[in-house]
Subunit: 216 residues, 4 copies
DNA sequence: GATGAATGAGACTTCATTCAT
DNA sequence: TATGAATGAAGTCTCATTCAT
C-alpha cells in the first residue's frame, strides 16, 4: 500500500464503510496510543489491549504497524487540505470573499475547527512527518504544488489592488501558516496543561497576521 | 539524575570538560542518530557502532538511554534561553535597544544563529518534548515563569509609548515565537530538501512580525 | 484419520470421485506449494489463496494441515508400489519375463513413467518421509515386508539359473532402487535447472545396474 | 553473509576457534534439532532451550535463523568435497592408484567415513538443498564444474586402457554417486530403525558399482 | 458448503542493560 | 575504563484453526 493508495482509501476508510466493529476499535485505540506515546514507542500489544482485540487481529486488517499508521494519517492529511484543492477554487473564492481579511478569517477558522475535531490525528501527523520520507514527500508535493499555487492566485489580486503587502506570496503564506502552526504547537504540545481563552487567542493571532501583511 | 541535575550539568557537560574522548564520540553519535530516527526508534547498539565504542561503554557513562537523551537535550534547552535569563536583563536591554524593532531583530537573529549551530539537538528537543513530561514541565516553568516575564517587562513600556499594539504581551510573545518556530518547522522538517534564500526569508518574517505588532 | 484410512482413501480420493471443484483446487494448490517450499514452510493461507478459496474452506475438507499432507501423499505411496502388490505377482511375472534384464527394464521404465507423471507428489513424499514416523513406518512395512519379498521371489530363481550375481537379494534390490533414486535426486533436486538427455540417462543407468548384478 | 563467506568461514568456524562456549552449544543444539525436525519446523526457542542458552544469545552470534543453518551446512559442504578439490589431484591420484577399483574403493570408503562422522549435518544438507537456491547453486557450481571435471580426468585414462565401460564419464560418476546416496538414503532416512551389517552392505554396493562399470 | 473475521499461541528478532574479564 | 558476551523481556508478525454468518 503506497501513499497514493492510502489517499485513495480516504474515500472508503475512516468513514465507517467496509470496516468491522473491531477494525474501528483498532483504529481508535491506535490513534489514542500513537498520540500519547508517539508511533515508535507504541506497541501493537498495547493497542490490541486498549482496543479489546487479539493482537493478531490488528495484522489481519493492517499488514504492518506502519500500515496502521498510514491508514490513520493519510486520510487526515487529505482532508486537511481538501477544501483548498477544489476545482473551482477561484470561482468559489470570488463569490464569497471581498477582502483578504474575510478570506483569511474564513479559511483559518474553518481549518482550525477541523483540526480541533481531529486533534489527535493531526498531532500524530505532525510528529511523524519528520521520520517518514514518503509522508513528507507526499505532503510537500500536494501542499507545495497545489495548495500553495491556489492560494497564490488569491493573494496576487489583493496585492495588485494594494490591499496587502508586496512580499512574495509564498512568504506571506508561510508566515500565515507558521503563525497558525505555532499557535497549535504552543497550545497542544508545549503547554497542553495550561488553560487559555481559545477564542480570544485565535482572534488575536488572526489580527496580528492580518496586520502583518496589510499594506499601510 | 533529575531535570535539575541535568541543568546543573549544563555547566560541566558538552563543554569538553571531564569528558573522555569516547564519551564525546558517544554524545555526537547519539545526536546524529536521535535526530535522524527519533529517540524511541534509535537503538543504543547503533549509537555504539556509530561512535566506535562497545555497547557497554555507553552505560558506563550514562546510566540509561533516557539519561543519554537528557544529557543531550538539557544543556541546549538551557543555552537556548540563557540570554533571556541574565540577571541584568532590563539594564542590558535599556543600554542596547531604543526601539522594539531593534530589540526583536537582535533577539531573533541571535537565537536563530544559535539554533542553526545546534540544529540537530534543537530538533531532538522539539521532537521529544511531547513525550517527556519532565522536559515539558521544566521547559514550561522556565520559559513561562521567567523568560516570558522578562520579555513582558520589555514589551509593556513600548506599549505605553504607543509603539506597539495593545494586545496582551503574552499573545504578542506567542505570535512572535510562533512565527519563528513555524519558519523553522517549514525549513527543517517539512521541506528539508527544498532550497531557499534563508537570509531573505528571515528578513521577510521579521518584517511581518514587526508589522503585525506595530501600532498604526 | 490414520495411515490405514488414508490408504483406504486411495480408492476414493484423487480420483475425482466425491470431490467438489474446490476440493480439487485445494489439493492441486497444496501439491504445488508443498513441493516448492516443503510442508513445514507452507502456510494454509498461501494454499487457500493459490486455490482461490477461503481459508476456512480448507479445514472443511481436511481437519488439519497434516491431514492435507497425508491426503496427498498416501495415495501416491500406494500407487507407487501397487503393481508390485498384485496378488498373482508370480504368475504375471512368469508369463511376461524370461530374463532378469527384461524384468528390471520393464519394471523400472514403468515406475519411472509413473514418477514423472506424479513428480511433485513423489518429491513431497520423499521430502516428508524423514519427519513423519507414521509415513515412514507405513512405507517400510509395506515395502519391506511385501514388495521386497515379492521381488526376492523373482530374483532367487535367476540366481539359481546362474544368471545373476550371488549377493543377498535384499542387497541387489537396494542397489537397484538406490541407483534409481539417486538418478531422480540428481535430476530433480540437485540440478533441476540443468538439461540432459533423459531417455539416454535412464538407459545408461539401467545398463550399469544390469551390468552390476549380472554374473560373469 | 553470502555463500562465499560461509565457505570462507569453513576455515575458522566449527574448528573451535574464536567460538565462545555458548556458541558451540548453540551449534550443536541446532544440528540436533534441525536434523530431527527439519529446518523449517525447528524453533529457535527449542534450540535455545536445548543449548542451555537464552534465545537472544542465538541472535548475537547468528543474525538470523537462516544464518545459523548456513553456518552449519556450508562448512560440511566444503569439507565433503574438499579432498576432490586439491590442486594436484592428478598427481596424488597417479601415485596412489593403479586400478579404477582401487580408486573408487578408496574414495568411497574415505567419504563414507567422513559422512558417518558428520551424519546429522549431511542429513540437514541433503534435506535443505531443495529449498535454498543459493545452497543448490553453490553446490552445483562447485560439484559440477570442479569435482566432476577432476574425476573425469581420472576416468578417461581407464576407459582408454579398456578397463572400464565406454559410457560418458558423467554418467558413470552419476551412477556411482547415485548408488552411494541411495545407500545412505535407505540406511539413514527410509529405514533408520532397521539394523544391518554396514560393512558388508558397503562392500556389496561397491562390488556392484565396480561390476557395473567394468568392461567385460 | 463456503466464507473470512477473529483468535491466541508461538515464531523470529531486537533491545536496553548487566557483568565478568 | 572499556569490552562484548549474555540476558530475558518485549516487540512485530505469522499461522493453523474456529465459528458465526
Amino acid at each position: 500500500m503506497d501513499v497514493n493508495n492510502w489517499v485513495d482509501d480516504f474515500f472508503n476508510l475512516m468513514d465507517e464503510e467496509k470496516m468491522t466493529e473491531k477494525q474501528k476499535k483498532i483504529l481508535l485505540a491506535s490513534i489514542e496510543v500513537f498520540a500519547e506515546k508517539g508511533y515508535a514507542a507504541s506497541s501493537t500489544s498495547e493497542i490490541a489491549k486498549k482496543a479489546g482485540v487479539a493482537e493478531g487481529t490488528i495484522f489481519r486488517h493492517y499488514k504492518t504497524k506502519k500500515d496502521l499508521l498510514m491508514s490513520i494519517v493519510a486520510p487526515v492529511m487529505a482532508k486537511l487540505i481538501a477544501p483548498l484543492l477544489i476545482k473551482d477554487f477561484q470561482k468559489v473564492f470570488k463569490q464569497n470573499f471581498q477582502s483578504y481579511e474575510e478570506f483569511v478569517r474564513a479559511l483559518l477558522l474553518n481549518r482550525l475547527t477541523f483540526i480541533k475535531e481531529h486533534l489527535s490525528v493531526v498531532k500524530i501527523l505532525l510528529q511523524e512527518i519528520p521520520f517518514h520520507p514518503e509522508l513528507r514527500q507526499h505532503f510537500s508535493e500536494t501542499v507545495m504544488e497545489q495548495v500553495v499555487s491556489r492560494i497564490e492566485s488569491v493573494i496576487i489580486p489583493f496585492q495588485e489592488k494594494g490591499e496587502i503587502i508586496d512580499l512574495p506570496p509564498k512568504s506571506i503564506i508561510r508566515f500565515t501558516a507558521s503563525s497558525i502552526i505555532g499557535l497549535l504547537f504552543g497550545k497542544f504540545i508545549l503547554f497542553p496543561e495550561s488553560e487559555w481563552d481559545e477564542v480570544q487567542a485565535i482572534e488575536e493571532t488572526i489580527q496580528m497576521i492580518l496586520h502583518g501583511v496589510e499594506k499601510k
